[in-house]
């Protein structure tokens, strides 16, 4: 057999092999099924029952005010922790302030009643501005008492006490002034887990 016939035979053998493979694939029984999948994200929705916690006029040094509010988990996902950020603006009525009014308003306590957790303890608003306390997290008594975070559909009650500090010194510069306090509560999800 000359070289030309050998090449021709080789090509024909290869072609036959390919035809057998392709033909064989269609020759056997086959079946297929389709899986339609969904990844639906849950919702993280923190609510508060009172958009305005306090609106009080005509206060003087030595006055104290207790208020309550409720944080609600209105989403479908459990909340791991809620962090509180503080900001405020002082309206200096007479333009004579030499001190920050925020140094004279004390948060005597912010108490998470459900978790028996004192979130803030004797801290001025000026100090709080540089802090990010956790209003909700795992408390010291968990798991015996309280929740781990804020489970979906649940609420936590809070009590807060503000005090206009009476420091025994001249505080006349604050007469007629106002302090607009903004508290922002930010909820964070729990760590991811195998599902």
């Amino acid at each position: 057999m000359n070289i030309k016939k050998q090449v021709t035979m080789g090509i024909m053998s290869a072609a036959l092999g390919i035809m057998l493979i392709v033909g064989g694939t269609f020759a056997f029984f086959s079946d297929s099924v389709t899986s339609n999948n969904t990844f639906a994200a849950g919702t993280l929705e923190l609510g508060i029952d009172k958009p305005q916690l306090i609106n009080i006029k005509n206060i003087k040094p030595g006055d104290s005010m207790i208020r309550d509010f409720e944080l609600q988990n209105n989403g479908t996902l459990d909340i791991q922790k809620v962090v509180l950020e503080t900001d405020y603006k002082v309206i200096d009525a007479n333009g004579n302030n030499t001190e920050d009014f925020g140094d004279h308003i004390l948060v005597e306590f912010l108490y998470n009643v459900n978790n028996f957790d004192e979130v803030i303890f004797k801290t001025t608003l000026a100090e709080l501005k540089n802090m990010s306390p956790e209003a909700i997290n795992k408390n010291i008594f968990y798991p015996e008492l309280g929740d781990e975070g804020l489970p979906a559909g649940e609420t936590h009650d809070f009590i807060v006490k503000f005090v206009f500090i009476e420091n025994g010194k001249d505080q006349n510069q604050f007469q007629g002034d106002a302090l607009e306090l903004e508290w922002t509560f930010t909820a964070y999800q729990k760590d991811g887990e195998p599902k």
Partner: protein, 148 residues
């Protein structure tokens, strides 16, 4: 018995008598208990809280509570109960009063309050909360104790 222990025992007895005498605002007549529910005023409730607060402070003064954080924890919770009373939210006040018992029990378990003092405060708390619930909901103490 040491002098301090005697003093502590004496104070405990005095406080117990104070608590029991404080219940005098409840009508004792069995007919009235069955027909007319006694009304507790906000001041009555605040007096009850004040008694509990006094017990905690006395316990702290005599070393029956081992640290300041525990004392503060108990007092802040009572402040929350009192706040709800001030707001006229008696349901929430009662709920948190009952949870005060839970809190004291927890401190008892972890050893931050002496057992005898914890039991005394807890029994007083249960008595007061039963009284409050009887007044609010018409539930008798016997029912609360599961005797009916």
């Amino acid at each position: 018995m040491k002098m301090s222990q005697r003093l502590f025992l004496l104070l405990t007895v005095i406080l117990a008598m104070g608590v029991l005498s404080g219940f005098s605002h409840v009508e004792n007549s069995s007919d009235q208990m069955n027909s007319v529910k006694p009304m507790l005023s906000s001041d009555d409730r605040k007096n009850d809280i004040e008694r509990l607060r006094g017990m905690v402070e006395t316990a702290a003064e005599h070393g029956a509570i081992t640290n300041a954080a525990t004392t503060r924890s108990l007092l802040v919770h009572l402040t929350a109960v009192e706040y709800y009373v001030d707001q006229g939210n008696n349901d929430k006040a009662l709920e948190q009063l009952r949870r005060f018992d839970t809190l004291v029990a927890q401190h008892q378990n972890i050893g931050t309050i002496e057992r005898s003092m914890a039991i005394f405060i807890r029994k007083s708390t249960v008595l007061i909360s039963n009284l409050w619930s009887q007044t609010d909901d018409g539930v008798s103490i016997s029912e609360l104790l599961g005797e009916k």
